[in-house]
Structures are given as structure tokens and as C-alpha cells.
Subunit: 217 residues, 2 copies
Amino acid sequence: MQTLSTEDYLKAIYHVSQSSPGAVATTSIAKQIGAKPSSVTDMFKKLSDQNLVKYQKYNGVSLTNEGIKTALRIIRKHRLWESFLVSHLNFNWDEVHQVAEQLEHIQSEKLTNELERFLDYPTHDPHGDPIPNRALFMKTYNKILLIELPVNKEGVCIGVKDNSSDFLRYLDRRQIGIGTPLQILHREDFDDSLHIQAGKSTLMITKKTAENIYVKP
Amino acid sequence: MQTLSTEDYLKAIYHVSQSSPGAVATTSIAKQIGAKPSSVTDMFKKLSDQNLVKYQKYNGVSLTNEGIKTALRIIRKHRLWESFLVSHLNFNWDEVHQVAEQLEHIQSEKLTNELERFLDYPTHDPHGDPIPNRALFMKTYNKILLIELPVNKEGVCIGVKDNSSDFLRYLDRRQIGIGTPLQILHREDFDDSLHIQAGKSTLMITKKTAENIYVKP
DNA sequence: CAACAAATTTAGAGAAGTCTAAATTATTTT
DNA sequence: AAAATAATTTAGACTTCTCTAAATTTGTTG
Ligand SMILES: [Mn+2]
Ligand SMILES: [Mn+2]
Ligand SMILES: [Mn+2]
Ligand SMILES: [Mn+2]
């Protein structure tokens, strides 16, 4: 049985290891968690004692199979709760993360599985991220970043890379959300800005924005 | 902002103070929480420092207005979650307490209020206990224990005093639940047992059982 | 009212998680 | 390859919550 803190560390290690290959460094987790590197080292030792990570001094950690399973169980709960908050409790997609960060630690298999049934077995959360099923398997689309979409090729927004409130509310104002059809009309070489078609409106976005939107080509 | 532990203490103090008048004794909380009296003394000092209780050495504590409000906010969440688990997630009334014990600590006013709306502003939880509304006011029926119901007077089960799984499952087997019509047919002086009408069936219950069922006369 | 019993508090310590400051190891630069 | 820089770990300390064992206070009884 894990504590709230070890669960957050395992999740952070999982996320960092997904976005960059190889062992996970102390400082990368310190940044993610918002703790000092010395605290992270302490936790690495604790997780290693429980065989949830493989830890080599001065060389970071990697999750064991048990560690991966534990992380996925938490991610499963996190994303199911986010889905619930949006679909039934009138939360906007930029408001759910903070609350799901707490709800993901509730310990009750029955609760998790009944919530999943109640939501009718959703496969993706409000940000387009895949939800692990009961067997911890998740369905992943092949997706690309909007920046990588060829000019004039049609795509559909299926997720976001940056989950910050600022970015999500910016997309709300631009009326871009999951399911919105997207197409690049023109790439401006001068400042890397993009002229795009989003649903029925045309608008201009920066490179940074295009690097944080996932599309299905 | 309270910790999980201080919240549980405040709730325990509230419950004990409801069932017995005057200051709340150290040992009574120790029993309720499952901690040693010395730990309780420590916590009494901490709560007193935060002005949530009035504490006099060797004479127990009583909640301040702020302490009562904090306790009611937690009880509100506890009972709303219990209601949700039973009404939407297929939990039985004997299974909800343990999970609600965790969910009651989730910090999000919006979550609590939206959950209340989603459940259509329930006034009582699955055990018949009143749910404080947003203003922390709760509607209390005038209720009596089944043992106090006069012979042959009709009543309706509106709650239970003992919330243990054992008792609740026993009531399930006897097909007694919230809303079940109850009537005492005969009191046996010899062993204090009761012959009762419960819904459509007649059955025999002990004094102890009759002391743990609330009825509206 | 003195002696005993029960309740309560104090003293001291441990586990979990965090931090700062200092020491060590690894990496990059010159 | 040495020096400088960056990353990581260690040492020591603090907070919160808990415990055991001992001391103190309160209540009860002969
Ligand atoms: Mn979390
Ligand atoms: Mn998400
Ligand atoms: Mn609780
Ligand atoms: Mn209840």
C-alpha cells in the first residue's frame, strides 16, 4: 500500500520516462514534483527498497514492472475522475487537474471500476489522454503535433501536450477543442507563425501553440 | 487549511459531543479515532492553537464556532459522497463508510457543490443521517428509537444508530431498510425481545437491535 | 479523609517527508 | 587533462503524527 507521496513520485517518474528515453534523472523529477533534488534522492531510495524502481547512484531511476503497474493504476484513476468532473459535474477541462490530483489517491478498486462503468468505459480523458482499462491497457491513437501536419492536409484535434490552465483557456477562446477540424493554410517562414483553419474560422497561431496540439491526420 | 488527521479529529469531537452533553473527554476521542490518549492530548493542543476547540487541561475539549463549521463541512462531504456511491455506483449502504472516510477530505468547494446539485440536493444520506446544505444547515426529523415506540403504534424506519457493516447487513437480511414500516406487536418482558411487524413480515428482534433503529412515529 | 483507581498529561523517541548546506561525483569547457 | 560547472548525494535538522512509559491530576471508596 502506497502513500500519497510515493504515488505522486511514481506517476511523475512514469510521465518523465514516457517523454524521454533512458533512466529518469533526479532533477527532472524535482522539477515535476516541485521538490528539492535531495528530497527526490531520499524518495528514490525508498521506492528502490520497495522494488518499484531500479536505482543506481548518480544515474537516476527506471520503473520496474511493479512500478509501472502502480503508476498506471493511479493514472487510470486520475483520468477517470477528470472525465467524471467534465461530463457530470460541469467542470471545464482546465479546472479538473488539481482536483483529480487528489482524487487519484482514493483507495477502492470497487470505486474505480464502478466509476468506469458509470462513465460507460471511456477510452480518453478530457485532454485526449488515453485511460488505462481494468487490465491497465490503453488504446493509443497514432497522433502527430499540429506543427508536423503538412500544409493543406486536414486533421482533427485529438489532444494537447501542455495541460496548463493558461493554454487550455487560450484554446477555449480560440474555439479549439477535442474534435475540432484543423488545417494549416500557410506557414510564415519569417516568424514561424501559422495561418490555420480551425472549424469554421481562420486564425493565426504561433509555433509554440502548434507544438502543443495533437492532431490525427 | 486542515490536514487529514485534524479533520478526522474535528469530526470525531463533533460526533461525540452530539451524543453526550458537556466537554468531550480525551479517552472518548481515543476510542473513536483508534489512537492512544497521549496522541489525543497532543492533537487537542494543536486544535486549541488554531482556535478550533476550547481546551482545558484534564477537562476535555469543546468545539468553537469555527470548529463546528469545519466539522460540518467534512460531514457534508462525507454524506454527499455516501449518497453518490449508493445512488450511482452500486455500493450497498454497508460499504460506503470506508470510502467516504477518504473522499470527505478532498478539497474543492466546486466539487462538493456540483456533487450536491448532481444528486439533486439530497437531505439525508443512505443511513438516514441529515446532510448539511451549503449554508451548513441540516434538516432534522424528530425521530425516536424503535425501542421507544409504543406497542401497536405504526412507525417508519428513517435511520440507524449503529453504522457497522455487521448491523447493516443484518438489517438487509431481515429486509429492514430506510422507509420500511415498523410496528411493535409485543414486548417480551422475560428477555426484552420484541415481536415486530416489518413491512409484510413479522419477526423477532432483540432489545439491542431495537436500540439501534430510528423510527418516525 | 486517606488510599486506591482511573483518566490525563508529559517526556522522550521513531517514522515519513521535507528542507538547507556541505560534500561528492559526473560532465563540460578550456 | 586540469579546471570549472552541473548534477547528485549526504549530513543534519525540522514538522506532523504517532507511540510507550512515567508522572500527575482527578474521582471514588472504605
Ligand atoms: Mn496526486
Ligand atoms: Mn488529463
Ligand atoms: Mn476521514
Ligand atoms: Mn452515513
